[in-house]
Symmetry: C2
Subunit: 393 residues, 2 copies
């Protein structure tokens, strides 16, 4: 409830800032095809066609099915809550005629999935109902608004992210005592999943690979479920893991080394790989400031790895984190077509990013560390407690 209150207010001020007239979120059966913006607007899924209109002049209007009116009304957030039984069109057309906005920003974007919650069928329906009132040429993308609304986290959003990070770090500490030669990736993941459930938490992404656990050389490397492969001495083992607290995610990776008999530290090539990763994170953190571009920050880490003789990592350096592990529009990534304009979006104070370069140490495994940072006015600070040493088993 508090979240919706905060984010709707924030939306009004961003509309003003962008000189946008009206933001419209238009949904139906949101348990089937949800809009990622809905949790900023409604406390529950919605069944029938529903519309949320927020204007730069501070009007906040919800139109929902009759059965769902009371739940929206008592939020106390909307200046008007309208409802209907047979069709949303007359109510929505009536509201729009009264507002008469010069443009209507709706949630679609070719670039930014977080700004792309409007389905194509709903777009067609909306265009048709706008056509009936002569407004169909007023549709614009809400990407600029939605991107800022996701990026500018309120204090309560940041608190939840930090809690999720602390829980994750705590589970990493516990699992260090569980990892041992002979344990399988699957056993290690199950140990962590039991900790997650025992704390009443949920994983931050698809339970099939949260945590992801990779031990030794020639693993799938990322986004793959833990297997029956067992930990061996001399392996590099890495994990990708996060949890949700109050709907907000953490997303961290840690690298372990399993000592061979007689070893007291990792072999030189593993140590070198790890120190290059730590250095790449630190250098890119220092480069990440308001007004910079993600493509340039990515290049700092990518360039360092290449200059040290490693291959480029086959993904971006980092993404924003929020209600989804991958949240927001601006991205720290290379100029690859699939990232579209995301690496060129200006970095703003308040954004929460991961920094996650990776490299392979042949015959040993993948060294990868993922930290979480927040951009501040004068630089970027760690939210996670950075891994500065290999975790030795």
């Amino acid at each position: 409830m508090q979240l919706i209150n905060e984010k709707v207010k924030q939306a009004v001020s961003i509309l003003k800032e962008l000189n946008m007239d009206c933001w419209l979120t238009f949904v139906r059966e949101t348990s089937v095809t949800g809009d990622p913006m809905l949790s900023f607007l409604s406390p529950s899924d919605l069944t029938w066609h529903s519309a949320f209109l927020i204007t730069g002049s501070g009007e906040t209007i919800a139109i929902v099915g009759d059965m769902e009116k009371r739940g929206i009304e008592e939020l106390g957030v909307y200046t008007q809550v309208r409802s209907y039984v047979e069709s949303i069109n007359p109510e929505l057309q009536d509201v729009l005629r009264q507002l008469n906005p010069s443009s209507i920003a709706v949630n679609y974007s070719t670039t930014s999935e977080i700004s792309d919650g409007l389905s194509h069928g709903m777009f067609l329906l909306l265009r048709e109902l706008l056509k009936e009132i002569g407004f169909d040429d007023r549709i614009v993308s809400s990407e600029a608004l939605v991107s800022r609304l996701r990026a500018r986290k309120t204090d309560s959003e940041i608190s939840a992210v930090i809690c999720a990070i602390r829980e994750t770090e705590d589970i990493f500490r516990l699992v260090k005592g569980f990892i041992a030669p002979g344990r399988s990736e699957r056993e290690i993941a199950e140990f962590m999943s039991a900790e997650v459930a025992g704390r009443g938490l949920v994983p931050a992404w698809d339970i099939n690979h949260c945590p992801a656990v990779f031990t030794g050389p020639d693993t799938a490397g990322a986004h793959y479920r833990p297997t029956g492969r067992v930990v061996e001495k001399g392996h590099v083992l890495n994990m990708d893991f996060g949890v949700k607290v109050d709907g907000y995610c953490s997303d961290l990776q840690r690298t372990f080394y399993i000592l061979e008999d007689g070893e007291t530290e990792a072999p030189a090539e593993v140590k070198k790989g790890f120190s290059v990763i730590v250095e790449a994170i630190e250098q890119s953190r220092l480069a990440l400031k308001p007004g910079t571009r993600g493509v340039d920050v990515d290049a700092v880490a990518r360039g360092l790895l290449v200059s040290e003789g490693y291959e480029e990592f086959p993904h971006g350096l980092g993404h924003q984190v929020g209600r989804f592990a991958h949240d927001g529009t601006a991205l720290l990534g290379p100029a690859w077509a699939k990232y579209s304009r995301k690496p060129y979006e200006p970095i703003e104070a308040g954004m929460v990013f991961t920094l996650e370069p990776r490299l392979t140490v042949p015959g040993r495994g993948v060294v990868t560390v993922e930290e979480m940072v927040q951009v501040r006015d004068h630089g970027t600070e760690y939210l996670s407690t950075p891994q500065m040493e290999l975790l030795l088993i």
Copy 2:
């Protein structure tokens, strides 16, 4: 894994039946904006732009990000699994050029939310990449295909639905012993939620109102969270509740009556309301057959209630149930604009529907029963154990 194997095979045969060339599901960051068809195609969420192409001639092709290739390959379902790092476009264009389909069915629909998983931004991207190869005029809606694929449940899908129904009925039996004057809606819901969690299940819809519990007159009536309102003697109490088993939902409603001191049965007006509801369900079940239309089946129950002097219920008589509590396209509903063509879609054998008329008994509460049925070749059978008597407390 089994599910994907079954549904992909079924998709090929439905494509043939509909004389459709090619079905394309096109997604990105599916944890943020998922397509409801994805669980029939992939075992996990997908991060980068991904495409699944199935043809009437039996070709099954997946194109996913490099990191996610292995997880798709080892399904053993796809005849080709391609992957990429920088952009999906060359791979997808190459596959489409080779297939050269006369039409490309994609998941959008103004009528059917279950067939509307393609976001508008992804539609624009797709149209652009098809334009580059001169195929942009080949896009059609996959609604007919998707609707059949959701409606025609395999044996394993039906088994899961029946398990979910049995769990739900069992929890209804248990909660009957818990309901008592002085208990609040919230306490009753918490008792049920604890049962759900204790069985390792999850609610079938939004946890805020699954179960929904309404006691006495003048409640919100539906789609509203349980409140602190307490059960009183003389109340009619109803519940709407379901769970998921192996990803498949149940969705049932039951009506209880809380006896006043000295009463051994409900008062006449409550008994009458209940018997009208039971009769409406039974009459509409008998009317529901392959080849009929939902609008006509809805009219049977609606007409009966009105002829008995009650108001029309402000929603459809019933919806399909599957991986979502509200699943599928064909609907048992009135000719209201928001239902579009859904009440006119032909009923097919195999479809699983709810039947859920409701009416108000003034001063007592809402009487509503929701059963689940399956359409068979020669008629419709109950999957749930129908409530034939008021549950007396």
